[in-house]
């Protein structure tokens, strides 16, 4: 499941549990250390760690979580 696909994103928002199961079933994705870490943090319920990872990712891409949130909201006309 690709996050670039808006349909995938909608499905992820509708059923995060199933979304995570899909991710875990994807062996290619699970070879990625970042995905492994994210899944592990999700399993442990480490929301602070996930937040930190999201912030790091945004920082590396020259944006902020707030901007990303606004962009996603804008896609759904919820700005």
């Amino acid at each position: 499941m690709e996050m670039n696909n808006p349909l995938g994103l909608i499905q992820a928002l509708q059923n995060p549990q199933a979304f995570m199961q899909n991710i875990m079933a994807n062996s290619q994705l699970m070879q990625n250390p970042m995905a492994q870490n994210a899944v592990e943090m999700y399993r442990k319920g480490d929301t602070a760690g996930l937040k930190r990872m999201a912030e790091n990712l945004c920082k590396e891409r020259g944006t902020t979580p707030q901007e990303v949130q606004n962009m996603v909201m804008g896609h759904f006309g919820m700005r």
């Binding site: 290619q28 070879q31 970042m34 870490n37 912030e55 590396e60 891409r61």
Partner: protein, 174 residues
């Protein structure tokens, strides 16, 4: 009237394209030939086709850059592999990879000329040799000094012994 052709074969050889099977087909063909030549009892153990394992060569991701500031997050793959960036003047090479916590970790490699490296090793060896020699010289000096001190101690004790006797004698006379 049928024309008589004195040359039964064409003077210019015609190009007949031959079909060359792809590598896998060729391998399957060879495998078939091999199995056909195998004795029956051995063939039973080799029923399953031999699966050829192709070792996938790791592909290098990266590009030449004038400066490392040109590199964006999109240049670094998110599948765990490292991207290699080479400065166009070859002064530095940098690898960048996403870490597990969502940060890009750069590692910089700087060139070292082989001759310089050899010279450095020689210099280090020289330093070690010099230090050994200097310690030997110091130890010799220390030995000399300790010998002199022993001699001086002996001479002082010899000198002090008769004087103490003389003093005792002088005290007894009084």
């Amino acid at each position: 009237m049928p024309m008589y052709n004195p040359y039964p074969y064409p003077a210019v050889p015609t190009y007949q394209p031959q079909y060359q099977p792809p590598m896998q087909d060729r391998l399957a063909q060879l495998q078939g030939q091999y199995q056909a030549t195998m004795p029956q009892n051995q063939q039973m153990s080799v029923q399953q086709p031999i699966q050829m394992q192709y070792i996938q060569q790791p592909q290098m991701i990266g590009r030449y850059v004038n400066d490392f500031t040109e590199i964006t997050a999109n240049d670094v793959p998110m599948d765990g592999r490292s991207a290699v960036f080479v400065k166009s003047d070859m002064s530095e090479i940098q690898t960048r990879a996403w870490s597990a916590d969502g940060k890009i970790i750069p590692i910089t490699f700087k060139p070292v000329l082989a001759e310089q490296n050899e010279n450095k090793e020689k210099q280090e060896n020289l330093k070690i040799d010099l230090s050994d020699e200097s310690t030997k010289a110091f130890m010799k000096r220390f030995d000399d000094i300790s010998d002199r001190l022993e001699k001086m101690e002996k001479s002082i004790s010899k000198q002090s012994a008769p004087t103490s006797r003389a003093r005792k004698g002088a005290d007894g006379d009084e």
